[in-house]
C-alpha cells in the first residue's frame, strides 16, 4: 500500500527533473540534485501522508456518516411532512361538508327550539288565562257572597228588631215550649 502511494511521487519528481534538464538544452544532468529533490519530496509527501492519512480518513468517514444520517433524517422529515400535508388536505376537503353539516344541525335545532318555545308560550298563556279566569271567578264569588252577606245581615237585623219589638212573654213561652219539644231529637245516647 505504501509503495503504491510513494511510487507516483517518485515518478513525478523524476519527470520534472528530466523536463527541466531538457528545457535547458544541455545534456548535463545533475543527478545528485535530482536525487536530492526526489528525496526531499519523498520525505515531505511521505511524512505528510503518514501524519495526515488517518485523521483525514477518519474525518472524511465521519463526515460521510453524518451526511448519510442527515439524508436519512431529512427523508424521514420529508415523509412525515408529506403525511401531515396529506392529512391537512384531507381535512380541508372535509371542512366544507362539516360546515354544511353543522349549519344543517343548527338550523334543525333552531327550528325545534322555536317550536318548543312557541308551545311553552302557548301553554303559559293558557295557564295565565285560566288563572285569571279562576281569580276573576273567585273575586266575583267573594263579591257576591259579600253582597249576599250584607243583604242577609240587613234583613236579619231588620227582622230581629221588628221581632224584638213585638216579642212578649207569651211568645217567649211558646218558643221555649217548642224548643223543649225539639229536645226529644237528641238521641245520641240511645
Amino acid at each position: 500500500m505504501k509503495k503504491n502511494v510513494l511510487f507516483p511521487f517518485l515518478v513525478l519528481a523524476l519527470a520534472m527533473s528530466l523536463s527541466a534538464a531538457t528545457e535547458g538544452g544541455t545534456s548535463h544532468i545533475d543527478w545528485f540534485n535530482v536525487l536530492g529533490k526526489v528525496f526531499n519530496s519523498t520525505v515531505l509527501f511521505g511524512g505528510l501522508i503518514l501524519l495526515l492519512r488517518k485523521p483525514l480518513i477518519q474525518m472524511l468517514s465521519q463526515k460521510s456518516s453524518a451526511i448519510q444520517n442527515d439524508i436519512v433524517e431529512r427523508e424521514k422529515n420529508l415523509s412525515a411532512t408529506s403525511a401531515r400535508l396529506l392529512d391537512i388536505q384531507q381535512r380541508l376537503a372535509k371542512v366544507a361538508s362539516e360546515v354544511q353539516g353543522i349549519k344543517s344541525t343548527a338550523e334543525a335545532a333552531g327550528r325545534d327550539e322555536l317550536a318548543r318555545l312557541e308551545e311553552a308560550g302557548r301553554l303559559e298563556a293558557e295557564r295565565i288565562i285560566a288563572l285569571s279566569e279562576e281569580e276573576i271567578r273567585q273575586r266575583v264569588d267573594a263579591a257576591v257572597r259579600a253582597v249576599k252577606g250584607r243583604i242577609a245581615d240587613m234583613t236579619i237585623e231588620r227582622f230581629k228588631n221588628d221581632f224584638t219589638r213585638s216579642l212578649n212573654d207569651a211568645t217567649q213561652q211558646r218558643i221555649i215550649e217548642r224548643n223543649i219539644d225539639s229536645c226529644g231529637d237528641l238521641d245520641e245516647g240511645k
Binding site: 257572597r145 249576599k148 242577609a152 224584638t164 237528641l186 245520641e188 240511645k190
Partner: protein
C-alpha cells in the same frame, strides 16, 4: 294543663269516695264552708298553703277547725290529704270541679241550658224528662240566662252545642242565604 289535670284527679278521687248523693251534698257543703273560712281568715289560708309551717302544725290547725265545724270524716280526711300533699292552693278549684267529677263518677250527664228568659218550673221538669228520655241516662241541668239568644233555649252538652234559640235560627238562616252551608 298539668294543674287542671291534678285538680280533676283530686276531685274525681273525692267523688268516687262518696257513698250517696246526701253524703256528697254534705261534703261539698262543708268544703264550701271551709273555703269561706279560709277566705275570712287569711292567716289560716296562708299557713295551710305555705311550706314554712310544718305538717304537724297544719294537722293541729285542721284538728281545731274540725272540732269547731264538726266535719264529715271524709271531708276531714280529704283536707288532711290535700294538706299533706301541699295542694291546699288548689282546694278552691278542686271544690269547683267536684260537681262535674260527681256527675262523671255516677254516669250523670250535665247539660247547661241557656235561655233568653227564666224557664218556669214546669218547663224545667218537662225539659229534664225529655232529655233523660232522649239520652237514656241520668241528666242534671244547669240553667243560665243569656238574653242575646232573643228567644228560646240553647243546650251545651260538653263541647257539643244544640242551639234552638231564635238567635241560632237566624245564624243558620244567614248561612243559608249567603251560601256558606
Amino acid at each position: 294543663m298539668k294543674e287542671s289535670s291534678l285538680v280533676k284527679r283530686y276531685a274525681k278521687a273525692l267523688a268516687l269516695a262518696m257513698d250517696d248523693q246526701s253524703e256528697f251534698a254534705r261534703v261539698k257543703g262543708e268544703l264550701h264552708d271551709f273555703l269561706a273560712l279560709l277566705a275570712a281568715d287569711e292567716k289560716l289560708k296562708i299557713g295551710l298553703a305555705t311550706f314554712l309551717i310544718s305538717q304537724a302544725e297544719k294537722i293541729i290547725a285542721l284538728d281545731i277547725v274540725n272540732a269547731k265545724m264538726n266535719l264529715h270524716a271524709k271531708t276531714f280526711q280529704f283536707l288532711l290529704t290535700v294538706t299533706a300533699e301541699n295542694r291546699m292552693v288548689y282546694l278552691e278549684q278542686m271544690v269547683q270541679q267536684l260537681p262535674d267529677a260527681w256527675y262523671a263518677a255516677r254516669g250523670i250527664e250535665k247539660i247547661i241550658v241557656h235561655s233568653a228568659i227564666e224557664l218556669a218550673g214546669g218547663q224545667k221538669e218537662r225539659l229534664l224528662g225529655k232529655l233523660k228520655k232522649a239520652l237514656a241516662r241520668k241528666v242534671v241541668l244547669e240553667y243560665r240566662l243569656q238574653p242575646e239568644l232573643i228567644a228560646g233555649i240553647s243546650l251545651s252538652r260538653g263541647s257539643v252545642q244544640y242551639d234552638f234559640s231564635l238567635s241560632g235560627s237566624l245564624k243558620k238562616l244567614r248561612e243559608t242565604l249567603v251560601g256558606e252551608k
